[in-house]
Symmetry: D2
Subunit: 427 residues, 4 copies
């Protein structure tokens, strides 16, 4: 199989040095597109062309000033200004298409964004020791999406040089860390002819040499914020003139947790961040909170979304306050198809470096690859989320996180092998 | 002054033996009317004629079965069946008018209902010892309204035999104990020409021989109940199918107490009685509570009425439950006019047996004579609530309560004297 | 196999006519014991001998007056007064032991109590039509425990006449409907040598001819009540003097539902019944609620028990009120052992009248046979809960409930066959 | 009377240019002390000598860094470094004593701190137009304490040149805006021989030429903050592992507002500022709120302080969270003595420029001069809070606030006149 380990490492390190937050992956997208152009793929959908048309209300989109700042940083780091211009408005990400004869259309989804975490600079942190630590201070690839993007490119190369017969589509998805990019990309139309979809995640406490052939147990999630707007008043002189935004929020918090739970399965609710008011002697005019609900199924999450919505509205009414709820992130639940994970398991057994293959594991958290998986499954296709073990010194989302680059080759061979197998089976 | 002490005592003891609850004063009204007919007063308004026309929604009206039972009791005790028939529907009470030449129209309001309290039967309880204990077991004149009704009759007699020039109206008001009768009687039209109104209460921790010339500090009050109707569900198998009436009620209770208080003065709120649900493993379909709000002014009470209404509705909405609130009792606040209380104080100084005259005292509770007082004051007239001291062995609303019958004569002389003085001043 | 269908029917109908509530099964126990005495079983443990020694704090024990009333009823219906005397204090139930050679000790647990439900008297209700409707008006065998007790006796007879080698113990357990009798009987010592235990339930929406070889999914449950004791005060005159029991209870209710849920599995909480207070104008001195918590495992139930306990205490502290929590019912979760359910499935296939055998089904509710099952399993033994289908016209716990008596024979043959098989395997 | 209007204006403008927040009045104190030294007063108590000895836990004391910054600013603006050094630790303020023969000891209390408000720079704002706008950007004398300090100096001069016989003590109190300085200064010992105390406030919506001879209606107040410390957990993966600080705070907020109100008079409670948590998917480890309680009397405020303390502790217990409450500010209630206000009213009638004298008015807010007033009154002395009208273009605590400097002379003449009168009466 065609795999250039050095090229993989170089590309991963380039991205690692330039982590960018959700919807601001200007440098990252530009670098991916440059590489794809160099390969002369059959189709290349960049930025807005890889997302749903109407992006007016994209969740968690940073404001103009923030996006502009990241555009400038991307250009300063060497990104092609014309390419960056095409990503205007935070329309990041790309989809590459390789047509290689008759056969099934197979997708691979990888995500590309970084996190607002300051990277470790200790000597035992490899990126620091070997000179590819983040150049965007305060931001970091602390969840391995640099490796994911590299896998996308590596698998594309390997499949192009394989006997795969069919069409391969690689989805470089933005804004996974805010659980925001999966929805718009799933509705881009580019998935409509995909019969088989793989997604991949590195690490997750599995060591280098271990492959999880199919993951499930994704909790559906909705992250949201609520703004409460009341009327201020002097708390000593005229308490009756106030409409107390803090009191309304407190009521909403207590009552959201008390929502009746559903017999069909686990649900979650949390009010994780609150702020409000200006002074101890003023009835608060404004308060706000950031919350989330989850469910073992999309339906259960939606049940909690409805319940908490009613609670928030009633708590606001109770105190004559206005409440406005807005969605920050959303992802459905999903499950890997066994037929696809069986292909991965078969292939992985024969990949050099693989020492252990697990048929299935639960993620236990949320991730928006589920949007793309659901899309394909709803069309009658199959989807599978693959876990790629890597020795990672720190936990995910910590400043000590790093990946073992050995696992990149294992990942490319496993995924490309599985894709090629699907092609063969179906040709 | 014409006062027949024995007649007063006899009449009071007759009423004391036949205590009747609010809107069921069939025997009491019939006995009063019989006495008034015997005196050949100029006008006599009985039952429905003494109340506002539309009585469909009279607060705290007992159901038909309860009223029927009390009608039968009244007749069994010797009440004139034709008279009782006129009080059908629980339209109890009466108003007597005495026209005695040119002069002002002066009103006297007394209340006539008893309480659902079992009277003491110990040897040291005078009614028991002297054979006039309540014959309606479980009910008792434990607040002295038997004495009040007697004062109404006694004052009427004394004024008729005095040099008072003008018109006297005596209002025998039902249903004070439920704070329910004052409103309908105040809207009967019979107060519309009243320029001066006295109301009287016996006891209130003032001893025999003490007169409080003018009382105030009445808290405006609204008593209400709320019914919550949800949907039941098995709490183990399908909690999500329930709409929890108990949870909604709990929410309403907590939040009613947390309503912002008004800077203009004291307010009160209380949820005093609750019940709901059928089994620990069923999400409750039904719950109900009895509550009240008060205020130092009618406006403050109405403020709390609005606040708690919004809270109840929102708490119900929060749990997808229906809430229905209904008013059980209501009375405004009021204050005695100093010019009228000054007349009382002047007269009382010269009444035999009076040893102490207080110009003013606060009631600190609620009472619906305030409806009649407000009505007169709104028309430009004056009103005054008089406290008549009596040695009472037990507190009001206890089974040991009793009045010192000596105070009946003092009360008649003081009130009739004050009424006569008003007539003289104005003649 | 020795089965006397007519005798089964007669006995079941006798019990059906005399339903008795938990801890008051005087007639029922006496009748069972009479039958067992007639059979000359090897050991017979009656009432207190079949329960844990210390019964002072048995959950849900009715008061003396209630128990006395049921004792009198039992005697009036013909129960042996000496036997009833042995059940004094509500120590009902019995355990019969049959020793039949070398071999394992096998237990069968059946429950015997009725429900406070008025039985239907319509013509299409078989007990009414055929003259064996409940003679204890307002009480009814609406969950088939009359059939269960009959199965206990029928299986004992069948085993005695079979080639079973070993010891059979039949546990006639009281007070299952209050989830209260299982604990005391499980701690009687009589289970200590039991290596295999079957329990059985009729109906559960399975038709006549269907057997569920092993049931699971029992939610662990704790039913409890909380008494709140505060201090009364006049809500208008001195609200600050009250310690508000209703407010404390409302707080506890809202917050119990808001307890954080456990990631290990489903939990439940419910406040199903509330009452408190005396009048709308009195700060409530007393309030009480009946609640329950459940969990998919005993640990999860205990987690919720701890959480709600802390909430109740804190809510009481918040309002300077005393809260006392007492347990009304408790049952752990349990799961049937597959080896035992496999025996049932094998046997059932060959029982006449059996048309369908399900390997497993979830109960989805709670039941205290789990105490006995756990006891055996903790000792290294095996336990299995068998579902015996029966056509039942109304749902469980409705006044139209009835069983198809044809299923009694099927049940006896299946259970006795399974017990005999265990004896053979082990002999 | 000796009054140098120009000197008053100059000094007031100097202070106006250098507003300093509570406990950071380094420049202000230094300038006052320089002036007092120039006058050769009999005693001069500076900084720590004017406050209670133990100042470890002074409320609302800014941290070291903040205090150092203000010290540097003060020195840069020309304050004597040695003097500033004596105020180390934020021990600001001073007390001057003038002994002038036999007679009573009379005190005058003025406050000296500024506010964190940016001063207006519009042309119609006199300080901006005439060149004495705040040099400490973001801070401002927006409540007239620059004028108060000036009055303190002016009255001292006028009394020294009057026929007053006795001892005058002028208290230049720091940290009134945080309701924090009054307590420590009242416990300095310097009030112990004061028989008569005046305090003064300018403005309060009274125009130039109006004097309020005695003010009352001060609400007692306690400002406090509460820190809640729980345990974080992933809200999706392990909600049961968290101890939710936000939920505890929400509970505390709802329940503080629901505390039973006291029949003795108005009380207030407010949670004015909240913040907590770090992310929507994390159970919050930390939350904090700033609150206050008030009462018409000190006892009522203390009642609410106790009630809310119990609520906070119970809410924390309910969620297994630690709560720590700390006091930020406190002041008792107080009332002006009529004998002292009568003196003011008499004197004011004859002061040039005075057009209107009100005997009494309510402040309706809180202020910590009450600590000093209470101290004197508890010793058997008398105290009086005087309102000095001034035309002020913006409201208090707004960036447009300013005083009419004409009122300075009126204030000095009225207060010095009243003090002299006391001396004469008592000599």
């Amino acid at each position: 199989m065609h795999v250039d380990a050095d090229a993989l490492t170089d590309f991963r390190r380039d991205l690692h040095q330039h982590p960018e937050p959700a919807w601001c992956e200007f440098y990252t997208t530009a670098r991916i597109v440059e590489e794809l152009r160099a390969r002369d793929v059959d189709e290349l959908h960049v930025g807005p062309d890889a997302l749903e048309e109407s992006d007016e209300e994209r969740m968690s989109l940073p404001d103009q000033a923030t996006r502009d700042e990241w555009r400038q940083r991307a250009e300063a780091a060497g990104a092609d200004p014309d390419l960056v211009e095409r990503l205007d408005g935070g329309n990041t990400g790309a989809v590459a298409v390789v047509e290689q004869g008759e056969g099934p259309t197979v997708g691979l989804r990888v995500d590309i964004d970084g996190l607002p975490i300051r990277e470790a600079d200790a000597d035992d942190h490899v990126p620091a020791a070997e000179g590819f630590r983040s150049e965007n201070e305060g931001y970091m690839h602390a969840c391995g999406h640099d490796a994911h993007a590299t896998l996308g490119l590596g698998v594309l190369d390997a499949v192009r040089h394989s006997d795969f017969s069919g069409t391969l589509k690689v989805f470089f998805q933005p804004a996974e860390e805010r659980v925001a990019g999966g929805g718009p990309m799933s509705r881009s139309g580019l998935l409509d002819d995909v019969g088989y979809l793989y997604a991949v995640h590195i690490g997750l406490d599995h060591p280098t040499g271990e492959i999880v052939a199919g993951m499930g147990g994704f909790l559906a999630v909705s992250g949201f914020e609520v703004e409460f707007e009341g009327s201020p008043a002097h708390a000593g002189a005229h308490p009756e003139q106030g409409d107390n935004a803090i009191q309304a929020m407190a009521e909403a918090i207590s009552s959201m947790y008390a929502a009746p739970r559903h017999a069909d399965g686990p649900t979650r609710v949390n009010a994780g961040v609150v702020e409000g008011g200006t002074a101890s002697n003023i009835v608060a005019e404004h308060a706000a909170m950031e919350c989330e609900v989850r469910g073992a199924t999309t339906e259960l999450m939606e049940y909690m979304w409805e319940e908490t919505g009613r609670v928030v509205d009633a708590a606001a009414d109770m105190h004559d306050v206005e409440a406005e709820r807005s969605l920050n992130s959303r992802a459905p639940s999903a499950e890997s198809d066994e037929t696809l994970s069986a292909v991965v398991a078969d292939v992985a057994e024969n990949v050099e470096g693989v020492e252990s293959v697990l048929d299935h594991d639960d993620l236990g958290g949320s991730e928006d690859a589920t949007y793309l998986m659901n899309r394909v499954q709803e069309q009658g296709g199959k989807a599978c989320y693959v876990g790629l073990g890597t020795d990672h010194p720190g936990g995910h989302h910590t400043s000590e996180f790093d990946v073992d680059e050995e696992s990149l080759v294992i990942g490319v061979e496993t995924l490309a092998g599985a894709i090629a197998d699907i092609g063969k089976d179906r040709a």
